[in-house]
């Protein structure tokens, strides 16, 4: 068992455990705070897959910016009060059946599929320049979707401001 395997199992176990804790906490603040280490360990798995650029983005955007956004909303509106009410939806039993069967289906599909060829091939030139590879593809073949993404973000910014604005009642 090499270092790669040990690191994979460490990242995988911590990510799964923190994700389980995040979706099972009654208090939304705890849920958000458990999701931060989960995203950090997923970023570690991205590094194992030689996607260093996206690992950094994963730490900056989902684990950093978005979690801060969630915490701001939870704190500003005092949504963390549990009020002694049940946390689970009343359809939880049916949902459990769906969830377990989906997990079985996906796992069986993943395990029974045969992927020929090697997986860990240490290609030095690609590993050394992941950012250049992603950037080269992003700014040539995917330039139009890239520009479109900025338009999406602009539209979402105005949409969020309009939706969250306080109505002035005189």
């Amino acid at each position: 068992m090499g270092l790669y395997d040990i690191m994979f199992y460490y990242f995988a176990v911590v990510a799964v455990v923190t994700a389980l804790l995040a979706v099972s906490r009654a208090n939304p603040v705890h849920a958000v705070l458990f999701l931060v280490p989960c995203f950090f360990h997923v970023a570690g798995i991205f590094v194992l897959l030689k996607a260093e650029f996206l690992a950094v983005i994963q730490i900056l955007v989902p684990a950093g910016a978005l979690m801060v956004l969630y915490l701001f909303v939870v704190f500003l509106f005092s949504l963390s009060e549990v009020k002694g009410m049940r946390a689970a939806h009343r359809q939880w039993a049916l949902a459990g059946v769906v969830v377990v069967s989906l997990l079985l289906l996906l796992s069986v599909l993943a395990v029974s599929s045969i992927f020929p060829g090697p997986f860990q091939e240490l290609v030095a030139k690609e590993a050394a320049n992941n950012t250049a590879a992603v950037g080269g593809s992003l700014y040539t073949s995917f330039l139009f979707p890239f520009e479109l993404a900025s338009l999406v973000l602009l539209a979402i910014m105005f949409g969020a401001m309009v939706l969250a604005r306080r109505e002035d009642k005189e």
């Binding site: 799964v16 997923v42 983005i57 994963q58 978005l66 459990g96 997990l103 999406v152 973000l153």
Partner: protein
């Protein structure tokens, strides 16, 4: 020896945990967090296949998925704020005003 299957199974587990959060929880904030988790699991799949096929296009897709995830979070939280102002609740089974 870690193979592509390991990453696919990990991604399936994370996706299922996210789906568990979406279907079983009442708090709309936790439902949004779980959607985030599901998107992360999908990104993991994209990156695993990108590594396997030695093709950076999968990582470009992850870039766009993260953009849409950020947009979804911003808009979703704005809707939560509007909902809380109008109805004073964040529990999805109490939000049934449009139920026929």
């Amino acid at each position: 020896m870690i193979s592509l299957t390991h990453f696919l199974v990990l991604s399936a587990i994370l996706f299922t945990i996210g789906m568990m959060g979406v279907l079983m929880r009442r708090n709309v904030i936790i439902i949004l967090l779980s959607v985030e988790l599901m998107l992360t699991a999908v990104n993991l799949n994209f990156i695993a296949f990108s590594h396997y096929m030695k093709n950076p296009v999968g990582q470009v897709f992850v870039f766009f998925v993260m953009t849409v995830a950020a947009a979804e979070t911003a808009l979703g939280l704005a809707i939560v704020i509007a909902l809380f102002r109008n109805l004073e609740t964040v529990y999805v089974d109490e939000i049934n005003q449009m139920k026929g």
